[in-house]
Symmetry: C2
Amino acid sequence: MQVIDSIARFRKALDNERMHGRSVGLVPTMGALHEGHASLIDSAMRRCDVVAVTVFVNPLQFGAGEDLSRYPRPFESDLALASGQGASYVFAPSVDEMYPGGVRTTVHVDELADVMEAATRPGHFDGVATVVAKVFNAAGPTIAFFGEKDWQQLQVIRRMTVDLSFPVEVVACPTVRADDGLALSSRNAYLDGPERAAAAVLYRGLCAAAALASSGERQLARLRDTVASTVAAEPLVQLEYAEALRRHDEIRLLVAARVGPARLIDNLGVPL
Amino acid sequence: MQVIDSIARFRKALDNERMHGRSVGLVPTMGALHEGHASLIDSAMRRCDVVAVTVFVNPLQFGAGEDLSRYPRPFESDLALASGQGASYVFAPSVDEMYPGGVRTTVHVDELADVMEAATRPGHFDGVATVVAKVFNAAGPTIAFFGEKDWQQLQVIRRMTVDLSFPVEVVACPTVRADDGLALSSRNAYLDGPERAAAAVLYRGLCAAAALASSGERQLARLRDTVASTVAAEPLVQLEYAEALRRHDEIRLLVAARVGPARLIDNLGVPL
């Protein structure tokens, strides 16, 4: 596995793979890799000839007062996980390599742009769209793999990819969960024992609403309230929002909450 | 020469060229091709194995009350010119093909973002950056060719290309001028005889300031005033702005004016 910190060398290495007719799978991450990322890499290995994992804690998608400075950066164990999963490249650029002279170009996507994460974290998705556009250009992937855990992010990236005609297929991979249902997240590392136990209430709230939806409930406000009231019953968890959206052929249930020092999000889809 | 109106087929055709090891030169235009465009295609022919010309009057870069509806669209003669210059592809998509369901993703470039064209035409360069990003992704060019006549646009595109790590070399081609110095522009077609004669004052104003700069004048306000006063002496021409900028290793002189129904821009660089 090659570890590359320069955009030019990353592009060149993958151009060389393409020249040999090999398809490139891209797994963009902020590092602190866990089994969720492992499953993304695994999907990429099954679909593509070579897999590149990017590890970049993107300052552009963090707001003031968020956890940019304390975001976990266990680089050696990230390399071990990526290598163990069979990745051929890890692209780990510095902030200076990605944004020399600051950020003068931004990509804005008007997709769910005033609700949930977009409302709670102003500028967050501009930061996501911009870095993903840049990484798409740097890597030139055939397929890029993103976790369904960040569902709203996934919608933003899908929209950007179509709107700007990136020649990239975006594949969503299912959320990986702990035994008690908590969605795996690098931010779970912030939790102490009692907080970690309490955090599972997010998934329980989603499941309660999903059960209601599956039994025929179509009033989105009722589904939202079910998530909210379930989460509210757990004193260690402060709900930020609960949401239920009708999209295409499903109801999507979403939740965000603070648990101790962590801000966690999760979601679940119910097919219609 | 192939004429293609679908993004997918355009990408596929050029992917096929790349698979055969051929470099792709891209000349993005709004059609109404003239000798200025011919020189862009000519530069592309000299540097690249195959040349693609895009012909798309991009509504996104026109403001309310601008000339979108009357912008000239002489498609057959555009095809003849592109073909005569040796282009292999003309990509001429419809607005629906480029922006199905409207525009949800935009690219913003913070480069000279509050002066000259950016100040006079709000949103113009977002429209330019967005369509160029999209055409870059659709074509995947090795080199893209732009006219120096649209100097501020060129700076925006260069900045975007670097910032978003597009694997594209941006090449600027010198402005092509009529015998009296008027920069060739598709909008010159709007001018009647007296207006056409009067329009040459833009170039005379730039030349007067360039002569002053070449003789040692470094006060930008003096250079700007020289452009402005020269243009103001011509009653058929209404000055919009005159500007003199120090950039890197040159002084760049720029002007915009209304001449009858046309809004014209021009510029000239003086090496330091």
